[in-house]
């Protein structure tokens, strides 16, 4: 959520009320913004500075990313005034300022919009807010200028009509903002390469064949979007006529940004809330139009839907009043079941009637809404079978004296493979593209790394350690839509002065017998008896499990076995157990012998 810092005294002045900390907090809570900080009592605040409020704004309320927007919406919510009626100045098209777009811009940044604020008076505070809003929009909706970028200019220093072109970097030469030296596109890239602020935007156009550029009628470079404006048309505190040009790769967001910029600051124009439009001539892609649109969208919303969802029974007049607190204007629709809601151009977050419905609820007060029983229909609870099975295993282990642990699912490639003396053949592990640390390179394909690391981190606990985990691993699987699937495993590790091989073996026997799986020995006539053993005349090989010595590098030779399960005559290898190889112990920095066990539980479902 974006956080906006506003001058506390100025805001209360604008609201026409001095709030206590609690009552302002409550206002924010009810409206759905969050008071994060109040520097009134902060000893670090310089004496000559007014205290600031840091206010968190919902991520889709681009119309509240500045002081003006917050003050306006709180005032509308408090019924102090209605939504301003924004108006385009009536200028014949022939006399309108224009931006002509060349088709080369399609290769880099195809869309542009413009607007002019006439006879505007900045104060230091409103000027800072004007710059601040551009920053916030760039950061949030514009995704760090990749989607939209804004340039603002002193119109009195330049002359229309303007053109929006895309030229080879070598062919663009100008002095960027706050610089005296002229440079071309390539030099500019080099100049700002290490700039803390601008450096991170260079990638947006750096490798493009052409760079976007806005010229005035005299070929003065107004800006090189999305990087920087020209110094020539620099806006200052004394600027009175502001030319705003906005370029974008996303037309919807371009219009939102354009509307918000002018709506927030047309307040300071001599003729409040008026905007001088700019004609965009862009025939090659069919976007010739007049900007800003400032279109008020109307929606016919079912009154029943609003009332029913909120659990209310309000009259159209009352709904209308509630909606006016949220910056809408309403009028009756031809159909009495509908209400015609006008969505102001600033409320770009309203996409559907449900957004209007939420605003009815906020205006009414979430905590004032009438309660009703949540139990409309009876439903039947049901556990997931694999979790039920896991719980049996987990509880049996705990009852047998083993301690359950919960290591992480992500681990390093080495922990999952090399350190266990296992080879990555590329068919098993899911690998991450953008981990912030080596600890998160792969999704584990075995529970062992987590168990070994847990023991490594518990050196001070008295031996022997007996730990267990029942959880998912993930495996690549091209037959699945997600090209991967989880598998529920159960693992245990014994760590002590002796290897604990038989202890781990015994845990396997215990848990499998609790799962009604019996042990099958290979000696003739010694078939194991399962819990529901029945004497049969000619018994086929019975279901159950058996183990067979294996020689795998994870384990010490002669002290490891694969676990096989025979179910319905079919034999599955379900896991293995053994004494870990001393080289594995060394990798995980373990000083004592250890035996581990790992079993795939899915087969027992």
């Amino acid at each position: 959520m974006p956080t906006i810092n506003v001058d506390k005294y100025a805001l209360f002045e604008e609201l026409g009320q001095q709030y206590t900390a609690d009552s302002f907090q409550q206002l924010c809570f009810d409206f759905g913004i969050e008071l994060d900080k109040d520097t009134e009592d902060d000893p670090a605040r310089p004496k000559d500075q007014a205290p600031e409020l840091a206010i968190e704004i919902p991520a889709n309320r681009y119309d509240m990313l500045c002081f003006e927007g917050i003050a306006m919406h709180l005032n509308i919510f408090r019924g102090k005034h209605g939504t301003p009626k924004y108006r385009l100045l009536d200028i014949p098209e022939s006399k309108m300022q224009s931006i002509t777009v060349t088709k080369e811009t399609a290769q880099v940044r195809p869309y542009v919009a413009g607007a002019i604020l006439r006879n505007l008076k900045f104060t230091e505070a409103t000027y800072n807010s004007f710059i601040g809003l551009q920053d916030k929009l760039h950061q949030n909706l514009a995704r760090q200028r990749t989607l939209v970028s804004i340039g603002t200019h002193d119109l009195d220093t330049i002359q229309g009509p303007f053109t929006y072109e895309a030229l080879s970097p070598k062919d663009i030469k100008f002095a960027p903002l706050n610089q005296t030296k002229e440079m071309d596109g390539e030099e500019l890239m080099a100049f700002y390469n290490n700039d803390k602020h601008l450096g991170r935007f260079l990638h947006i156009i750096r490798d493009k064949p052409v760079y976007p550029v806005i010229f005035d009628a005299n070929r003065v470079v107004c800006s090189l979007p999305p990087i920087i404006n020209g110094n020539h048309s620099k806006i200052t505190l004394n600027t009175t006529n502001v030319f705003i040009e906005i370029t974008a790769t996303d037309q919807t967001k371009l219009d939102i940004v354009c509307n918000i910029m002018v709506a927030m600051f047309s307040k300071y124009c001599e003729e409040q809330f008026t905007i001088e439009p700019v004609k965009i001539i862009s025939d090659h892609n069919g976007t010739t139009r007049i900007t800003p649109s400032l279109a008020v969208r109307t929606m016919d919303v079912e009154l029943d839907y609003l009332n029913q969802s909120c659990g209310l029974n309000e009259s159209p007049a009352s709904i209308s009043k509630l909606l006016s607190k949220m910056a809408y204007t309403t009028e009756p629709s031809e159909d009495p079941k509908l209400i015609r809601v006008a969505v102001p151009p600033t409320r770009a977050d309203v996409l559907h009637a449900c957004d209007v419905m939420e605003d009815v609820a906020i205006a009414y007060g979430f905590n004032n809404l009438p309660r009703s029983s949540p139990n409309k229909a009876a439903t039947i609870g049901k556990p997931l079978m694999i979790n039920k099975l896991s719980d049996i295993v987990r509880n049996e282990c705990a009852m047998a004296g083993w301690v359950e642990v919960m290591p992480l699912i992500l681990c390093s490639h080495e922990e999952n493979f090399e350190w266990l003396n296992r080879v990555d053949d590329g068919t098993t592990a899911v690998k991450l593209a953008n981990p912030k640390s080596v600890e998160y390179q792969v999704v584990r394909t075995s529970l062992l790394p987590g168990l070994l690391k847990t023991i490594r981190e518990n050196k001070s606990v008295a031996l022997p350690l007996k730990i267990t985990e029942t959880s998912d691993i993930a495996l690549k699987d091209d037959t699945c839509e997600r090209r991967a699937r989880n598998e529920r495993h159960w693992a245990a590790a014994f760590y002590g002065k002796t290897s604990g091989f038989e202890v781990v073996h015994g845990l396997l026997d215990r848990v499998l017998s609790m799962l009604r799986i019996s042990f099958i020995t290979h000696e003739e006539g010694l078939t194991g008896k399962s819990v529901d053993f029945e004497v049969k005349q000619n018994p086929s090989p019975s279901d159950g499990y058996f183990i067979e010595e294996i020689n795998e590098p994870t384990f010490f030779h002669g002290r490891a076995a694969a676990i096989y399960l025979r179910l319905g005559g079919k034999v599955h290898r379900i896991g293995e157990f053994g004494v870990l190889h001393p080289t594995v112990l060394e990798k995980f920095d373990l000083k004592y012998p250890m035996s581990t066990l790992e079993v795939n539980l899915e087969i027992f479902l």
């Binding site: 969802s309 449900c354 049901k382 987990r394 004296g401 301690v403 290591p407 992480l408 953008n434 839509e481």
Partner: protein
């Protein structure tokens, strides 16, 4: 009374014998040779059987310093000098006195003291001789008295001798011993435990048992234990089952952008989809398009895909959409799920194909508690992995009042009451309500979860009917657990750095009992 035949002397038995003759007795008188520890052990042994009782007496006792012992044995220094002179008829020089006594410092001290006492005098030749016929060696008598009685009637004398470092004082504890209610002359053998043999022999009837130390802890159990997070999870599952919820199959760590984001109406440029926040998968390369999960699955996935695309790109189902070019490739990028809501989405999509008695999808309640992944920078409250508790309720004509009422009941079962609801933003729920509860310790409202009604354009894309609303809510499993156990660092709760002792000693979780 004393032990015979070389058997070890049993002081306890001796005490009993002495008491049978007279009670009370004083340990210092009756057993002067036994040490304090010996007597104390014997008395405690007897007292625990109530055979004797005792009071502790404290007194001051004087014993001789080495110099005092010497005086007691050989006489005071001055007396020794006098004696030496008495034996030498013609008097002695200083050197001769030293030689006779054999100790230079004693000779010197004795000579000066004897002179002061006028026992000796000096001759003209500078020799010393006796000045009287007989003397009384008072000091020697005093120390000898102290040596036998360990005190002296005159306190001034004691102080003087102590000052002269001839005697020292020490506090001595002794006992006055009485018969106890179970006084006897013999001590029955004490058993520490009731054992099987006693039951067989009947010895338990007569045996005396050593009293149990009820102030000590019992034996260590080396107990197995379940992980505290899983114990809290079990409580949550219990609550869900009580309220008629079905557990969702969350066995998919890897998700496509489609299920994790697009189907949830999270636009492709949303910050949550940044590399900074989400783990993307490099291998396998990309997901397949959504399709049937089993041969019986007859749902039209192509239509669903198309609906989702349209809702984002042009708007549909009453929504104007986000109006941006929607990328199928972006939708097929693989991610580690950032929430289990991806699973809820798949479940709701399946629900759309179900038919209740009225031909409409039946009301349903689903829940899950499982691991989710965020590409976070790890700190005390953030790990790249945590558990999400999630519930959804699909039903007809649900209201916000019902949602809040449900939350009150749900959290009430955990002992969390006085909930407040704050408007919030979430791409897939509208309205979205953050759930707050007043925290007494922090004296403020703290956020305990998120809730809301899923957006109609998300649900209708799946084919769910317009009248069906879906509540969804979620919270992390770690947060309430950390509050419950007073843990401030999440790494002490989840991951390999968790202390095994912490797991083992954690009490049962009773969320409803605060």
């Amino acid at each position: 009374m004393a032990a015979t035949d070389g058997a070890p002397r049993d002081l306890a038995l001796e005490i009993l014998a002495a008491l049978s003759e007279s009670s009370p007795i004083l340990s210092a008188e009756t057993f002067p040779k036994s040490t304090f520890t010996e007597i104390k052990a014997a008395l405690d042994r007897l007292a625990s059987r109530e055979m004797t009782k005792y009071d502790t007496l404290e007194r001051e006792e004087y014993t001789l310093e080495p110099e005092g012992e010497q005086i007691a044995a050989n006489g005071s220094h001055e007396a020794r000098v006098f004696e030496a002179l008495r034996q030498a008829m013609d008097g002695l020089t200083v050197q001769e006195i030293e030689k006779a006594i054999g100790d230079k410092s004693i000779a010197k001290l004795g000579q000066s003291k004897a002179f002061k006492e006028k026992w000796i005098s000096r001759t003209k030749e500078g020799k010393f001789k006796t000045a009287t016929d007989a003397i009384k060696d008072v000091t020697r008598e005093q120390v000898q008295t102290i040596k036998t009685t360990r005190t002296y009637p005159d306190a001034k004398v004691l102080a003087e001798l102590k000052k002269r470092k001839l005697v020292k004082m020490q506090k001595v504890i002794s006992f006055r011993i009485h018969k106890g209610p179970k006084f006897a002359l013999e001590i029955a053998k004490e058993e520490t435990d009731l054992i099987a043999d006693m039951l067989v022999s009947g010895a338990w009837k007569t045996a005396t048992f050593k009293p149990y130390n009820f102030k000590a802890l019992g034996a260590d159990q080396n107990a197995g234990a379940l992980h505290p997070l899983n114990k809290v999870r079990a409580e949550f599952r219990q609550i869900f089952f009580e309220m008629g919820f079905e557990e969702m199959p969350t066995n998919k760590f890897v998700e496509s952008g489609f299920w994790n984001f697009d189907a949830l109406f999270v636009p492709q440029q949303h910050p949550a989809r940044d590399l900074q926040d989400t783990f993307y998968i490099s291998d396998p390369k990309a997901a397949g398009k959504p399709g049937p999960t089993s041969p019986d699955d007859k749902q039209d996935y192509e239509q669903y895909w198309e609906n989702v695309r349209q809702v984002h790109e042009n708007g549909k189902f009453g929504s104007i959409g986000y109006r941006y070019p929607w990328s199928p490739d972006e939708s097929l990028r693989l991610v580690l799920r950032t929430h289990t809501t991806s699973i809820s989405t798949a479940m709701l999509h399946k629900l759309a194909a179900k038919k209740g008695p009225d031909g409409l999808p039946p009301p349903a309640r689903y829940f899950s508690i499982d691991r989710v992944f965020r590409n976070e920078t790890v700190d005390a409250t953030h790990l790249a992995e945590f558990h999400q508790v999630e519930g959804v309720i699909a039903d007809y004509n649900l209201t916000l009042g019902g949602l809040m009422e449900f939350m009150d009941i749900f959290f009430g079962k955990m002992g969390i009451t006085d909930l407040r609801y704050k408007p919030a933003y979430n791409p897939y729920t509208e309205p979205s309500m953050e759930i707050f509860s007043y925290h007494k310790g922090l004296d403020k409202l703290v956020e305990i979860g998120n809730s809301g009604m899923f957006r109609p354009e998300m649900l209708e894309s799946m084919g769910l009917p317009k009248g069906m609303n879906v509540f969804g809510w979620g919270l992390s499993l770690e947060r309430p657990t950390m509050i419950k156990y007073g843990i401030s660092n999440i790494r002490e709760l989840l991951g390999h750095k968790v202390d095994l002792n912490f797991i083992q000693r954690n009490p049962a979780v009773r969320l409803d009992k605060s």
